[in-house]
Symmetry: C2
Subunit: 155 residues, 2 copies
DNA sequence: TTCGATGCAAATAGTTTGCATTCTA
DNA sequence: TAGAATGCAAACTATTTGCATCGAA
């Protein structure tokens, strides 16, 4: 179950979210700071794109070959529980992980897989309407918006 | 790659989409009408809910035990290509299949899994805006809208 | 009588779990 | 030095594929 990021992190921009701040948060919450965790957080902070668990494993094992995929999955779960990262389903492939960012949504083309990031306000009033009518708080980050990009529509 | 339903089916309501019409369409498109296909279409037409492939296998094998899951998966693919059915990802579990219906979207609670159907017009203008700005045609049926229902938000 | 569809087995992708061991706090 | 986290192997879920056989048109 995802959780909103702690206020101490939420206010900052992604690029300000230092590895150190995340590790301190971990320690603060009674978790332990280990080599795999440190490498994972460094990788996620440095990443420009959304990473699959497998890509993350690869980047971590480049620096510490003994780190195992199951550790990465377990740590992602922990970091998500703390509100540091979240995952997004872009389509039929594996989930993609990233730091909890400002509200942006993603359009994923069903045909070519192209990803377009769009500003959240476009959907704000529709989401507010759903919230008013059904009491349901929509999270457009958990699943990408699926459809067809302009190139694939003409093709 | 999903495809819009043929005009002959699109205009009708789900409850009017008879098994016979679908089987005729199959034959018309050069496909063969077999026992597993007939049973699958009957089941999908009769179903009130969205079915997982496994549930569909179960309902079909109740009547013809020799039908295999791989046949069901392959036939779902065929029917989707013809525009007769489509699948929706509601969350982390298996995809759910249903006849191509009028535009309705689904809200799925991340915590309790409750499904709420909502009318499409709520998101129509936001989707139109995305289309105008990015040329991207959003399909809100392929992935459900994820979030938290009112009960789980208070809990 | 052809070739599209099937049943079965095995493979695959992505992720999760059990358990003995390690190492942080 | 307690117990949280790890590495590894194995299980698991959902789905796909290869292939010989079957049967609809």
């Amino acid at each position: 179950v995802p959780v909103p990021p702690p206020a101490s992190l939420r206010a900052e921009r992604q690029e300000d979210l230092s590895t150190r701040a995340v590790l301190l948060l971990l320690r603060d919450r009674g978790c332990r700071v280990t080599v795999p965790r440190r490498l994972m957080v460094e990788t996620l902070v440095a990443a420009q794109e959304l990473l699959t668990a497998e890509e993350l494993v690869g980047r971590v094992t480049d620096r510490a070959p003994e780190v195992h995929a199951s550790t990465v999955y377990r740590t992602l779960e922990t970091l998500e529980r703390l509100g540091v990262v979240e995952h997004t389903h872009l389509g039929h492939g594996p989930a993609r992980w990233h730091l909890t960012t400002a509200e942006r949504h993603r359009l994923v083309c069903d045909r070519c897989g192209a990803i377009t990031e769009i500003p959240a306000p476009i959907f704000a009033s529709a989401c507010a309407e759903v919230e008013a009518a059904y009491g349901f708080a929509v999270n457009l980050r958990h699943f990408a918006l699926s459809g067809f990009c302009s190139a694939c529509r003409s093709a």
